[in-house]
């Protein structure tokens, strides 16, 4: 410890109460930074998780090309008139006829963590006299479960019952309610082609997205293929999950090389999720930075007071041969110490607050407690931002201290 640091230490420890107030303002600022960011990240994660319970990172499906070549072309000469009545774009193919090939091809891409096929169609479900439309999904239970943790959302029954019985069906809780159907009840499904089959309810599912829960019905993909009389490799969509959902765009463009079907990363058509996440992050940072800046003003104030209080000491030090740089060092060291102590205690306090919030009951949708995230990055950033602001707040008073004219003070 050099002389300047020793002087800084004595000056700092001689006024414990002021030191405490200064440290506490940093502690508070940094803990709020940690809390705000952890909370927002938690909300974002929760949002994303809910989103991805029913939505894959990348979806491959058959879509009409955006550019449709018109049947009518311009007349060859002015004498001729070409007429086409009832012009229509006709979809020659529906769904993906040979989904197995796509699955095989893209499973070589490393960042892909899971692939599942789905066969989705709108159907009518009837239970006695109640009839309602529904979204029937034929799923590959094992893969689906791996991608979406579907079995976690089953309130009753077992997802894998779909495999053992070809007439098993799982209904969304909302759908079951509107049908008045419960476990073990028989419901009949009618396709748009007029085929009707009876299924038995073996499970109920609730994902928290109530829109989906009101229309969702799940059968095994084999049962669905049978129902719609399509071939064994048929699927309406191939869903892909990757290791980091933020890279969906890049991986999607990679998949495009293997197939001509439409490859859609989740951000397309879900811009609102993307922007909501970004906005929440901005709010969190804005609020926490504001708190840190206020804490910075607190330190600025306290250090200014200290400089004024110690102006005689500064004059003596200068008379004894301490130069401006020494004085800056003496006072800046005090701010740095305040910043470091406040920073470290702030991280701990922040962590404690986050843990408490993590236990606050919040029973809405699938949540049980308020969502938070424990990300070391938030802690590192909070610490850096906090110490940086203390440094800035401490520098100005220190600079003022270095400009003290000893003659003026010592002559009195």
């Amino acid at each position: 410890m050099n002389t300047n640091q020793k002087i800084a230490r004595v000056l700092l420890t001689s006024r414990i109460r002021q030191l405490l107030v200064a440290v506490l303002s940093v502690t508070f600022g940094i803990s709020m930074y940690v809390f705000m960011n952890s909370f927002m990240a938690g909300v974002n994660n929760e949002q994303t998780e809910i989103t991805f319970t029913s939505m894959a990172h990348i979806k491959i499906y058959n879509e009409l090309p955006e550019e449709v070549t018109p049947i009518r072309t311009g007349a060859s000469d002015a004498q001729t008139v070409r007429m086409v009545s009832n012009e229509q774009n006709i979809r020659y193919t529906e769904g993906i006829k040979n989904a197995d090939v796509i699955v095989q091809d893209i499973s070589t891409i490393e960042s892909i963590t899971g692939i599942t096929r789905q066969l989705n169609q709108n159907v009518f479900i009837r239970n006695g006299v109640t009839r309602t439309s529904a979204n029937l999904s034929g799923i590959e239970t094992l893969e689906e479960d791996r991608l979406f943790q579907t079995s976690d959302y089953l309130t009753e029954g077992d997802l894998y019952d779909l495999n053992s019985r070809s007439n098993a069906i799982i209904l969304g809780t909302g759908l079951a309610r509107s049908l008045g159907a419960g476990m073990g009840d028989m419901v009949s499904i009618s396709t748009s082609d007029g085929v009707t089959r009876i299924f038995q309810v073996v499970g109920l599912i609730e994902t928290g997205a109530s829109g989906a829960d009101k229309t969702r019905a799940i059968v095994s993909i084999e049962a669905a293929r049978q129902l719609f009389s399509v071939n064994r490799s048929y699927a309406t969509e191939v869903l892909v999950n990757i290791n980091n959902y933020e890279n969906a765009r890049e991986v999607a463009s990679e998949i495009t090389r293997f197939t001509d079907y439409k490859v859609e990363p989740w951000q397309e058509g879900n811009g609102q999720l993307d922007s909501a996440n970004a906005l929440r992050d901005i709010i969190a940072i804005a609020v926490s930075l504001t708190i840190l800046i206020v804490a910075g003003f607190g330190i600025y104030n306290i250090m200014n007071m200290t400089v004024n209080e110690k102006i005689k000491d500064i004059a003596i030090l200068k008379a004894m041969g301490f130069n401006g740089k020494d004085v800056v060092e003496i006072f800046l060291t005090q701010s740095v110490v305040i910043g470091l102590i406040g920073g470290i205690t702030g991280l701990f306090l922040g962590n404690i607050i986050v843990r408490i919030v993590d236990r606050v009951p919040f029973e809405i949708a699938t949540l049980a407690t308020l969502p938070v995230d424990y990300n070391p990055r938030d802690y590192i950033l909070a610490f850096l931002a906090g110490t940086l602001i203390t440094l800035l707040a401490g520098y100005l008073p220190a600079k003022n201290a270095s400009k003290v004219d000893p003659v003026e003070i010592l002559r009195g």
């Binding site: 002389t3 004894m320 401006g324 020494d326 000893p406």
Partner: protein
């Protein structure tokens, strides 16, 4: 060799009105001389001392200390120069109140950083012993009496063995007994260690016992006796 030469120094105050405090001051002080600067209030003697101390740099003319011209040096160079060559004793002792007596004495030497901490501590203890302050080293500077504080300030002024010791009314705040002690210490330092002493004083007795008196009147040098 002159410990101090002042050549043609003029000093003005701009506040509250333009005013010439020092008028064409020139004099030399030899090494080992014990000099008093006297004069009535407002004669400019304290102002002169602060010019000599290198802390006030706003003047015309030139000042050399130990053969080195200090006029025109930068603030940081002057700080280093003061640290090494000048010791101060002020009227109101001006110790750092939060530090111990020993720390107060050691700080200028720690700043100079030419000796180890242990050597400095030994020197400081020796100086305090010399000034009859044994046993008070660990006390806080704010917890000792005025006379003791002034002795600590003198020990602090001596720690770097400066060529010149400057005092701004070093006995101004002390009773006659303590004044005598301080004077005797100065006398002894000038005589035995060859250190130059310059003290601004109101104290007649103090002044007449010096080697030389420099008297100021209305900013002019009256006589060097």
């Amino acid at each position: 060799m002159n410990a101090l030469s002042v050549y043609n120094v003029n000093k003005y105050f701009e506040e509250p009105v333009h005013f010439q405090v020092l008028k064409n001051i020139s004099f030399n002080i030899h090494k080992g001389e014990f000099v008093s600067i006297i004069g009535k209030s407002g004669s400019g003697k304290s102002t002169l001392l602060y010019l000599l101390s290198t802390m006030d740099t706003d003047y015309e003319g030139s000042i050399s200390i130990n053969g080195e011209q200090v006029t025109g040096l930068k603030q940081n160079q002057l700080a280093t120069f003061r640290n090494e060559h000048i010791g101060f004793v002020f009227q109101f002792h001006f110790l750092l109140p939060e530090f111990s007596v020993l720390d107060n004495v050691m700080i200028p030497a720690l700043k100079l950083n030419q000796r180890t901490k242990d050597e400095i501590e030994d020197m400081a203890l020796e100086l305090l012993g010399l000034l009859d302050m044994k046993g008070e080293e660990k006390k806080k500077a704010s917890k000792i009496s005025g006379g003791q504080q002034q002795r600590v300030a003198i020990a602090r002024a001596l720690i770097n063995s400066p060529a010149i010791i400057m005092g701004d009314e070093p006995t101004g705040n002390l009773d006659s007994k303590n004044s005598k002690i301080v004077f005797d210490i100065f006398r002894q330092l000038a005589r035995e260690k060859g250190q130059t002493i310059i003290a601004v004083t109101h104290d007649e007795e103090f002044a007449v016992n010096c080697d030389r008196i420099i008297e100021l009147s209305d900013g002019r040098l009256v006589d060097s006796i």
